[in-house]
């Protein structure tokens, strides 16, 4: 029904446009007519935006809140004998059973109350969606008639349309802020619910992470299952391995491209780095599982080191490969931003290319490179698919790269995959981890951008 409503909006807006334009043309075209302020098309657009936009907003709001409202109504309509003494979780279960039944999926024979409620829900859904269509159509026709009366030769239709357009554009640029606010609010909301169950000090400083045992709410009081230190440590270990792999390769690549390579080499290497940067992370994850982890395991076996099948080294190494293009392109930018006069001066004094690089360009570009490395670190910490596929699930507090460790992102995914209910501490813990992840990566990004910006100003 939403689809039909949107179609109706489009059709009526087009109708409105032609109505407005033709009536404006009538007084624009006549001989000896008044001078017209706006072109006829703007009169059409004026009516069309006022017909279309409010109805569009109405339909969107209606569609987003219809489900929740109907759920509440259905719950309220259940006979009190049925709902009495039931916990919210049980009521939720009943509600989803009603919803399933209403959409035609039956499992076993439902209770008569549920059956009745499902029938009610179906009829209400029908009524609601028809009502939406009718209300939207009525609204549009009323607006059309009203806006039509505003059209006059001296009416400033263009200014009015442009105002609406400006408003729309401002709204669109605020979407980015709304997204950030949405992220912060949703993470905080669920995290605060989590910290009511598990004290925040325990979460941040506890050394034991065993969310699996806390399946039932009465178990969370059990000894310190939500201490996230091992998870943070695992994240740092894998990110550190990734950076150890990526920094030398990326940095030396950038140095070579800036100082030694001719255009021919650069034209080959740069696209290859872009390809590397464009490979989806799930592909790297599969590569880690299929190729790198067994290879590392075998190598570990040859050296007599006990190697876990999902070692931190495998995940970190592959993550490092993923970050190489990131570091190389940011270092490349930083090295190129050093004024040419400094480089030429050094070369003119008889310094070799390597001396110019290590004594002049690198020190000058160091802040930019550091900024790039920080951005890469934030990327490594937030990277998900590689570690979900190649790292372990069990949180161990270790710095041995041959051991299996887990990361923040792995824990978030493993806790939220599958059906989740929003009242178990396990689910809420994922949001708390997400909050930490968001704050840390945001901090790193802000810091990095600040460094890069300051450094850029220095040379401009």
């Amino acid at each position: 029904m939403v689809g039909y409503s949107l179609l109706l909006i489009v059709i009526l807006s087009l109708v409105a446009y032609y109505v407005g334009r033709s009536s404006a043309k009538r007084f624009a075209g006549g001989a000896g007519s008044e001078k017209i302020h706006s072109l006829p098309g703007y009169h059409g657009a004026f009516i069309a935006v006022w017909v279309g936009i409010p109805a569009f907003v109405l339909v969107l709001l209606w569609a987003s809140f219809q489900g929740a409202t109907l759920d509440n109504l259905v719950l309220a309509s259940l006979p009190s004998g049925f709902t009495e003494g039931k916990s919210p979780a049980e009521l939720n279960l009943a509600l989803s059973e009603i919803r399933n039944l209403a959409s035609g999926r039956t499992f076993g024979t439902p209770a008569p109350e549920i059956q009745l409620a499902a029938e009610r829900l179906v009829s209400w859904q029908n009524i609601a969606s028809w009502a939406m269509l009718v209300v939207a159509a009525t609204l549009m026709i009323l607006v059309l008639v009203f806006a039509r009366t505003r059209i006059a030769p001296r009416f400033r239709a263009r200014n009015s349309v442009e105002h609406v357009l400006s408003g729309l554009m401002i709204f669109c640029s605020v979407v980015a802020i709304l997204t950030t606010v949405g992220i912060i609010v949703s993470l905080l909301y669920e995290s605060i619910a989590f910290f009511r169950l598990v004290p925040i000090t325990e979460f941040l400083f506890g050394l034991k992470w065993e969310p699996q045992i806390a399946l039932r709410p009465d178990q969370i009081a059990g000894a310190g299952a939500f201490g996230a230190v091992p998870v943070f440590a695992g994240t740092l270990l894998i990110s550190a391995i990734a950076l150890i792999v990526a920094i030398p390769i990326g940095l030396f690549t950038a140095i070579y491209l800036v100082e030694y390579a001719d255009d021919r080499v650069r034209n080959v290497v740069k696209p290859i780095m872009e390809i590397l940067a464009g490979i989806p992370t799930v592909v790297f994850g599969f590569f880690a599982v299929l190729t790198v982890a067994p290879a590392i395991r075998e190598a570990g076996g040859l050296l007599g080191v006990v190697t876990s099948p999902n070692s931190a080294l495998a995940a970190g190494f592959v993550m490092g490969i993923m970050i190489i293009p990131f570091i190389s392109s940011l270092s490349d930018d930083a090295l190129r931003a050093v004024p040419r006069s400094m480089r030429d001066g050094s070369l003119a004094m008889g310094a070799t290319a390597s001396e110019t690089m290590t004594r002049v360009l690198l020190p000058a570009a160091l802040p930019g490179i550091m900024g790039g490395i920080l951005l890469a670190a934030s990327r490594a910490i937030g990277e998900t698919m590689i570690v979900v596929m190649a790292a372990g699930l069990i949180a161990t507090l270790t710095i041995n790269p041959m051991d299996s460790v887990t990361t923040v992102t792995v824990q978030i995914v493993s806790m939220l995959i599958g059906d989740t209910s929003f009242d178990s501490p396990k689910t809420l813990a994922a949001f708390a981890l997400g909050l930490v992840l968001f704050i840390v990566t945001l901090g790193l990004n802000v810091l990095a951008l600040q460094i890069v910006k300051k450094y850029r100003e220095q040379y401009e």
Partner: protein, 428 residues
């Protein structure tokens, strides 16, 4: 002037000077060598990645099939209701033709394991489509079971001892007989593109995932394209330089670097929990992807707008156009090629995104393509993730094949973007 005077002319040919020069040049060559080594390592790793994928994935583009004559006896299949026939027996009879000695149940079971588990349904569908074969024989080519498929592709070593091999000696004998009779073929695996997910590797395909990804990307495009352009136009052309617009800009830059999984958490909490969009729906996935692509869209659009020379704006303003008219009639059309290029690249990134889709549940096991934006579905990258997690050997090559298909889509999209950039972008 330097205070320290040189004691005499420098002898550049002295042993010391030559040695110093030599070591300095050696250092130079060393740095150059490190650079070459780094680049070769990076390229080598990329090559290794792609080689393993191609070697692992190409077998999945072929599917071993077995052609058999199925005797459709009237005692098993009633002409009045062909859909309800006992096709299990039909399949058994057909298999007994190649191995008449298989009379005990265990032997017959081994025989049955040559073909895909769903063979009886293939036969049923063929009979229902053409009921005239009842009483006669039906020649049908059906996919072989996964172990036989692997064996035919040479991925199972038949010299291994029997207990380390997924095909036992008896089945090996049956298989050899089929090969001798010319009943085994390996045509191109169209099922990879036209089937949806399945528990059996030989039947699993990407159709559902591709459809799901298409719907999600469509939503992503419908939201992020207009919103991104509008926001970019406002920020680039209209916004006053004040604290608010600075805040918005910083915000957009930071949003571009927020880990994708955090967007998944947002989608789960807001779109699914608050708005009640069904789990696994491409609508939810597409909306999350749209929010993720939005910063990219805004940034590329702003760059495209910046590239339009101010003379165009001034010319249009000079002949009396309003600011809006300047942008709508001149600046935007001129920057459209750049915007489109950026859009395609943004969508290509969105196509490869996996983590946020996992959180909104697009990793469900779904055996038919979604029929709409609200039906549960998977997406290409999540399908790859599901297959990568499956224990069956056959899914390993399917995973690689799925990745190759995904990379193929990405190459095509980026190719279109490069083509557009070269063809349409105007240099001023």
């Amino acid at each position: 002037m330097s205070e320290t005077a040189l004691t005499g002319p420098v002898d550049w040919t002295s042993e010391n000077a030559v040695g110093r020069r030599r070591s300095r040049h050696a250092a130079n060559r060393r740095l150059q060598f490190y650079g070459i080594a780094a680049i070769s390592t990076a390229i080598g790793l990329l090559g290794l990645l792609i080689t393993t994928l191609v070697i692992g994935g190409y077998p999945a583009f072929l599917q071993t099939k077995i052609t058999l004559d199925f005797p459709i006896k009237a005692e098993y299949v009633d002409a009045a209701d062909p859909a309800a026939g006992n096709y299990r027996n039909v399949v058994r009879d057909a298999l007994l033709q190649i191995a008449p000695e298989a009379t005990t149940p265990p032997q017959q079971r081994m025989l049955g394991q040559l073909l895909t588990n769903n063979t009886q349904f293939f036969v049923r569908d063929a009979v229902v489509a053409n009921p005239s074969v009842i009483g006669g024989t039906l020649t049908l080519t059906v996919p072989a079971a996964d172990p036989i498929d692997q064996l035919n592709k040479g991925l199972i070593d038949r010299t291994l001892p029997e207990n380390q091999r997924r095909v036992n000696d008896v089945q090996l004998g049956f298989y050899d007989r089929l090969v001798e009779a010319g009943q085994v073929s390996a045509p191109f695996n169209w099922a990879l593109f036209f089937n949806s997910d399945s528990r059996f590797p030989e039947l699993a395909g990407l159709a559902g995932a591709i459809t799901g990804s298409f719907y999600a990307l469509l939503i992503c495009f419908l939201i992020s394209f207009p919103v991104g352009i509008a926001a970019a136009i406002y920020l680039e052309e209209f916004a006053p330089r004040n604290r608010w617009t600075y805040l918005i800009e910083v915000n957009i830059n930071n949003l571009a670097a927020v880990p994708s999984i955090v967007f998944g958490l947002l989608g789960l909490a807001v779109f699914i929990q608050l708005f009640g969009i069904p789990r696994s729906a491409p609508l939810a996935g597409g909306m999350v992807l749209a929010l993720m692509t939005l910063p990219t869209m805004i940034i590329v659009t702003r760059n495209a707008l910046k590239a339009v020379p101010p003379s165009i704006r001034e010319g249009a303003l000079g002949v009396g156009a309003s600011k809006h008219q300047v942008i709508m009639h001149h600046v935007l059309p001129l920057s459209l090629p750049g915007i489109l290029t950026g859009t395609i690249i943004g969508l290509a990134q969105a196509l490869g995104e996996t983590a946020p889709l996992l959180l909104v549940g697009m990793n469900a096991f779904i055996t038919s393509p979604p029929g709409g934006f609200l039906e549960a579905s998977t997406a290409l990258p999540t399908q790859i993730f599901i297959w990568a997690d499956s224990p069956e050997r056959g899914f390993t090559s399917r995973t690689s094949a799925g990745i190759l298909v995904l990379l193929g889509f990405l190459i095509v999209m980026n190719g279109i973007a490069i083509f557009l950039r070269q063809r349409l972008e105007r240099r001023w």
